[in-house]
Symmetry: C2
Subunit: 219 residues, 2 copies
DNA sequence: TATCTGCAAAATGGATACATTTGCAAAGAT
DNA sequence: ATCTTTGCAAATGTATCCATTTTGCAGATA
């Protein structure tokens, strides 16, 4: 429950958006006073916000040392993709039957938009909206939260890869999206499960081939 | 990284232990001032502690209303068991090859101890130690964290069921533990995966038959 | 009797000030 | 020259005080 009239939530929301958008990158130090000044508040709500974002998996807080934008090693990132390969098929299966015709149409529209879109920021947003919409029929609260958290923590590396691959590199991805929509529209849960697992798996294998995505900027 | 010389962590650690031990039950209101007085601190570190425990899934915090010990509906609890059915086999597989002979011996010893043990509190502790040890060979940090979180949030309902079932009701559980140890000792990952998935699944189906476990005490 | 209104008590949210810890840099010793 | 120690500056951790929100009850009204 995120209420915008509470400072800690406002700060958390804005910082979350900035991290997901890539304005803050993994490993970057977060100073409490800096944020406090930026958002015209004291350090107390800033600290609350950092804890909230820690729950989201976007920030790491260490006692007496401070906070950093959460970062993953290559192995950790690949591990999270393996987890997604196990969980998202389950989530999609639970969602499938409850998606409305309007939602199915919107899924197809999003897949088409993504294909036409040329910039990475647009792709990131549409891709996320597409997949989350495909899960929106599921009543599973915990599973949704876990999956969303995994999307959060891997978002930066997905973008880094998209930047490297470029638009032509995403052609297969767009095809997969179309096939996924088709399976979902047929309400074919087995096929849909296979598609989403394969979709995630292919991305994992591609990411594994690009260690430069996980290189630390400096240090 | 939990450092005991920071008040917020001390409070979080002790409250976590109390919740896991069952001294605080799901749905119970947590008042900041109460905790502050109990632990001889101001409300600031208490608030931090509540956020930390929220990350653990043990506490739910709502703006301007307060904090409660996290509680699950029947459906949510069963959902978490389904998630465990997908994730713990993966975790066990990753762990299997790296377990030492000494750890295998300890696993068998724990299974035997559990069988001999007659009180529920002892069972809860030994059972948790047993399964966590079986996963200790895995390098997967995120997966371990997710699984541990799921154990935390479902702990109360597992205990409630153990109390209802009583010692004789756990006979099959003990047998499953022995079979699991055997499969692990043979380094048979396929068999071990099947065993752990079935073990979790059976508990889920038993829990599903006991709605009284999820009854809210009052209100 | 049931419902609504409004005030007061209690609990949470936040700001300021102070305490403690950490890390780095410069000085000293081996 | 390298390693250790010491001390200071910067950042985090906590306490106290005040503001805001919520909640529950008392009283009025239909």
């Amino acid at each position: 429950m995120t209420s915008p009239n509470v400072a800690s939530h406002r700060i958390a929301d804005q910082l979350r958006a900035k991290i997901l958008a890539g304005s803050w990158v993994p490993g970057e130090r977060i100073r409490q006073e800096e944020l406090a000044e930026e958002y015209q508040a004291s350090r107390i709500p800033v600290r609350e916000a950092l804890r909230i974002l820690e729950t989201d998996g976007l920030v790491q807080v260490v006692s007496n040392q401070g906070a950093w934008v959460a970062s993953l090693t290559r192995d950790e990132c690949l591990e999270q993709y393996e987890i997604r390969e196990r969980l998202e098929p389950l989530l999609l299966r639970e969602s499938l039957a409850n998606l409305t015709a309007a939602q199915l149409a919107k899924l197809d529209e999003l897949a088409t938009q993504m294909q036409a879109n040329r910039d990475v920021a647009g792709f990131m947003q549409l891709d996320r909206e597409f997949h989350m919409l495909s899960y929106s029929g599921a009543p599973n609260t915990t599973l949704k939260e876990i999956v969303e958290r995994l999307w959060n923590t891997t978002q930066h590396y997905r973008r880094a890869y998209a930047n490297i691959a470029g638009s032509p590199g995403l052609d297969v991805t767009h095809l997969e999206h179309k096939l996924l929509v088709e399976a979902i529209t047929r309400r074919d849960s087995e096929d849909a499960e296979r598609m989403i697992a394969g979709h995630i798996r292919r991305t994992r294998l591609l990411l594994a081939q690009h260690p430069e995505v996980f290189a630390t900027p400096t240090a």
